[in-house]
């Protein structure tokens, strides 16, 4: 029976982990290659902006280098405007106000692409920042996982 594709919000830390990996063969690299083919990736300008800024600040990449390398991931995504921040968003991310953009982006799918969110049974926020987005916790039916956890869930 056909199941709708999983919906996945990807955190900047996944892109960073791929870039910093010496051979780009870890779970983060793997899911960045796989997700555009099999999942609905959800992106927002806030996440994109953070990716560009972190890559420039930490790795010294230009915007063009980031967009060339990760173009297929960004091109495959559906773009949403994150919902406005509410007090309960912070509880999910252990009070780190900046991490709320991930859950606010995930929540925006309910209003901006309701048909997709209703159909999809698997919804993930994938991050390598295990301190703020603890694997196994969930918010608005989105399960927080690491890249490795996501590979296991979709395998």
């Amino acid at each position: 029976m056909t199941k709708p594709r999983p919906i996945v919000v990807i955190d900047t830390s996944v892109f960073l982990k791929d870039a910093m990996s010496p051979i780009h063969r870890g779970a983060a690299s793997q899911i960045l290659a796989i997700l555009p083919a099999i999942a609905t990736i959800v992106m927002s300008d806030e996440i994109r902006q953070e990716i560009l800024e972190k890559f420039s600040e930490i790795l010294g990449w230009t915007d063009k280098q980031v967009l060339t390398t990760y173009g297929p991931v960004l091109e495959a995504a559906i773009w949403v405007i994150p919902v406005p921040e509410q007090p309960w968003h912070r509880k999910v991310v252990h009070d780190d106000e900046d991490d709320t953009m991930l859950v606010r982006t995930a929540e925006a799918v309910f209003t901006e692409a309701p048909d997709r969110i209703e159909a999809a049974q698997l919804r993930f926020v994938v991050s390598e920042n295990k301190r703020h987005l603890k694997p196994g916790t969930s918010y608005a039916s989105f399960l927080c996982v690491t890249s490795h956890g996501l590979l296991e869930a979709i395998g």
Partner: protein, 129 residues
């Protein structure tokens, strides 16, 4: 012995042009050349075929063949079978992300595992709201 033969169109035309003459003087040599031409065509074929096999997709994504079959059966990956049976054929376009990410990244200095962990765990910018 496996030989990786990569011929340009010009090479192929040149070889095919002299093949009749070679066949007249040395049929055995002509047969070897024909075999090499077929081998070259077989190598080039995957690049132009619009479909990839389950095995090719599995290798590109570093997963097992069974995982790819699961994705197809769940409807996550588009695929069809010729005449409704036979091996699953997956549009080669699904490999775009794997191909893009298989290219070398812009060079960066080496990070120790501890440095990588620290970078991934640190708080975001104060302005990223």
């Amino acid at each position: 012995m496996a030989i990786n033969v990569a011929l340009t169109e010009q090479d192929k035309k040149a070889v095919q042009a002299v093949l009749p003459a070679v066949r007249r003087t040395s049929p055995e040599a002509a047969m070897i050349i024909s075999r090499l031409l077929r081998a070259a065509a077989a190598i080039e074929e995957p690049a132009v075929r619009p479909y990839a096999s389950v095995g090719e997709v599995a290798r590109a994504f570093s997963v097992t063949d069974q995982t790819v079959r699961n994705w197809v059966d769940r409807g996550w990956l588009p695929a069809d079978r010729r005449f409704g049976r036979g091996p699953r054929r997956i549009p080669r376009s699904v490999l775009a992300s794997a191909n893009a990410l298989s290219r070398p990244r812009p060079s960066i200095r080496d990070f120790t595992p501890d440095e990588r962990e620290a970078i991934l765990a640190r708080p975001r910018r104060a302005t990223a709201k």
